[in-house]
Amino acid sequence: MTDVSPLVDIQGITVTFPGVKALQEVDFRLFPGEVHALLGENGAGKSTLIKALTGVHTPDAGEIRLAGAPVSFHSPAQAQDAGIATVYQEVNLCTNLSVAENILLGREPRRFGSIDGRAMRARAAELLSRIGLHIDPGSALGSHPIAVQQLVAIARAVAVDARVLILDEPTSSLDAGEVAELFRIMRVLRENGVAILFVSHFLDQVYEIADRLTVLRNGAVVGEHATTAVSRLELVRAMIGRDLSVLDEVEQQAERRVPSETPLLRAENLGRTGAIAPFDLELHAGEVVGVAGLLGSGRTELARLLFGADHADSGRVLLDGRPVKLRTPRSAIARRIAFTSEDRKAEGLVADLTVRDNLILAMQAARGWYRQVPRRTADELVEKYVNALDIRPANPDAVVGTLSGGNQQKVLLARWLITQPRLLILDEPTRGIDVGAKAQIQKVVTDLAAEGMAVLFISAELEEVMRVSDRVVVLRDRRMIGELPGEATVDDVLTMIAGEAERVQVS
């Protein structure tokens, strides 16, 4: 491969934001016909590198060469015209338009000056079949699950005959079958000589699909390797710059905890039509209860009922043995229940406000607007949690929207820890964040339980759920189908999910 010249050759680029060097003299090479994984913790500079390559950010120094010729993009459109297509982590398509319109947006086939709908659907159908996706091109994009939308985004990239395809965490919302489908498509494109840049936090996937990889840390390259030449341990060490001994601690602590005798919260026959079938659940102080299930199995719906974000239409909730009405999030918060949503952008953070304001938001809301949290108290709390959770940058006046995903998640977690909840409900607290931050959050969760907090932990990653939890409830098709002890394995969970339904294939 080394005798082939790189398609993308980035040399010594530096990107600075006010006060931060996001990238420092980064070199990066991408060859035609390879899948190249870009790895690093959140905030390491992966997104910035991608944005520099696609014309969103203009580098302050350094050079980008595309097929040998120096290029300088000032907008994503220019990069796209040059053959660089990007699929972002959050799908950036128009859900109100049809699949065909999304694929061919801006390049619609025309007849007599107006858009030729029939030709457009035919062309879209052809592109979809090329990547093996069989859906009606005339259907509204929003009617399909996120995974399909992601594949449509890739079809859009294929449609422009991209030479370089950038996939920024495309798998974070896909299940195993969908990931396999994505990889099949990636292999087809690779055969055709497309250079694919692949960002993922799942090391398994990196080893499965990537030919080579580049590791970033703190805005600088720490290594460029053939995938087969590095072990996972070396890779993780390179990414976070230290050992992962915390993970062992997490596991040990899970065994040391002693849950309380009487339940803190009891849900009896709680349910909501169309969201989740009535279920019973007991949560004790000092234990972590995991919720496992596939995408769409009702995990989030369960959490929202317990927090009063949605109304239950059957059953009741008892807190300390007394029935309580959880009509709104406010009433749940008043009873010291906290909830972090899986969608931290839309339902969690207030992006334009500072880290300080975001951290004290829940506390302030509980106190009422007329009793402002004194500046000194706020600063003390902020300093304490910024240090405790290692939030970076450690600047309380930074606008939270500029933080990396993992740090945003920590801000959200800290917002609730400040309110000193008795029950903490975490919905996908580690989605889309890197190994280091993930381990930190898991550690915090187990520490909190050891101090006597009840935690409900929801995650799509079964390994993670099993590692932190004392017991696990399993959901399928919006129904609670059983409970497993913490010693159970991932296979046990999968068997249970597969159990009664013959159709579900366990891979």
């Binding site: 990107v15 600075t16 934001f17 006010p18 944005k51 969103v56 950010h57 203009t58 302050d60 907008s75 994503p76 459109a77 990007t86 972002y88 959050e90 799908v91 950036n92 398509l93 128009c94 927090f307 974000a309 709104t328 999030p329 406010r330 918060i333 909830f339 949503s341 839309a346 339902e347 969690g348 953070l349 207030v350 992006a351 334009d352 406000l353 304001d357 938001l361 829940a362 302030q364 809301a365 509980a366 106190r367 607007w369 007329y370 009793r371 402002q372 949290v373 929207g401 500029t402 917002r415």
Partner: protein, 338 residues
């Protein structure tokens, strides 16, 4: 503070322009304990706009807009003048007018926060219906009155015109109320992300409701000022298009129509820019038929100077290290996906 630099410069430039045409522009004189001068005039004539713009700032911070303020101005004047013309007490008349404005604000807030109607539509209802209501109250007549107590609000003097003092007092109270308590932060939080705020326990609905009530009250006081200043209630033309001036003042002051961070100081400067502009048009003798074009040109320039893209482009040759895109929080695709 940085984002206020252009509106401030525009204000200074306009004032200097006046100085060129009218050398005595900055002179103030004290006569019978009253302060007179062009600057005082600007402040006094701008007082109603400023007041309305202050209420509008909070509405816009919650990602809303209140188009009905002009109609509320007309209603407030109509109620007060009609009652006084029928021999009523001026103080009672003003309290009645403000009471009605409170109800109108509750109505707007109800439509937006409870029924979830888009603010522009919800307040459009009262914008059109409100003038009709004012006409009904005045029975289609211009009601002229002669009442010293009432005249004090809009035309009275306590060294400075009372109208100025009222507006500045409201500004001061608001600044204290929103920045010394958590109200300002909660308003911004609701404006940026209503759902996240609700899940964090913020009473989003109450906050949104409150800002519409406050906006209507500000418009009511402004309406009393305007009617008091001319000793008459004119249901047709009182406060006509004042909502546009108020929105413009807020925008010039750097508060984004997309909601979120707001600046009361910015709104003050914005209102002053607009009023100075109106005064300038008169003092430098721009022909009346080109007045609006002249105003439009200045406003466009100020807004352009604040556009993140343009400021980035202007700054680039000066400091090559400043990344212009940093001012744009989202990439174009991200923004397009919304």
């Amino acid at each position: 503070m940085k984002r206020l630099i252009w509106p401030l410069l525009a204000l200074v430039a306009l004032l200097l322009l006046n100085l060129v045409f009218t050398p005595s522009f900055f002179s103030l004189r004290l006569q019978d304990g009253h302060l007179f001068g062009s600057l005082v005039d600007i402040l006094r004539n701008g007082a109603p706009t400023l007041l309305i713009a202050l209420g509008m700032t909070l509405v816009i911070a919650t990602r809303g807009i209140d188009l009905s303020v002009g109609a509320v101005v007309a209603i407030a004047g109509a109620v007060a003048c009609t009652y006084i013309a029928d021999g009523g007490n001026a103080v009672v008349a003003m309290l009645m007018a403000l009471g009605l404005c409170l109800v109108l604000g509750l109505w707007n807030g109800f439509l937006v926060s409870v029924l979830g109607i888009q603010p522009i539509i919800a307040t459009l209802v009262l914008m059109t219906a409100g003038r009709g209501l004012a006409m009904l109250i005045t029975e289609g007549q211009i009601i002229t009155i002669n009442n010293d107590t009432f005249a004090f609000v809009g035309a009275g003097y306590l060294v400075l015109p009372v109208a100025i003092l009222i507006s500045l007092a409201v500004l001061a109270v608001m600044a204290l109320l929103t920045r010394r308590t958590a109200l300002g932060m909660l308003i911004e939080s609701v404006g940026v992300n209503p759902e996240a705020s609700r899940l964090a326990g913020v009473r989003s609905r109450t906050i949104i409701w409150t800002v519409y009530v406050f906006s209507a009250l500000c418009a009511g006081v402004a309406g009393l000022m305007i009617a008091s200043n001319v000793h008459a209630a004119d249901a047709n033309s009182a406060g006509l298009w004042i909502e546009m001036d108020a929105i413009l003042a807020v925008v010039i002051g750097g508060t984004s129509l997309a909601g979120g961070r707001y600046s009361l100081t910015g709104t003050l400067i914005g209102a002053l820019v607009i009023q100075t502009l109106t005064t300038t048009v008169l003092t430098i003798g721009v022909p009346t038929d080109t007045t609006l074009v002249f105003k439009a040109a200045v406003v466009i320039v100020v807004c352009l100077l604040q556009a993140p893209r343009l400021t980035g482009a202007l700054r680039r040759p000066v400091g090559p290290t400043s990344p212009p895109v940093a001012a744009v929080p989202q990439s174009p695709q991200e923004a397009g996906a919304r």
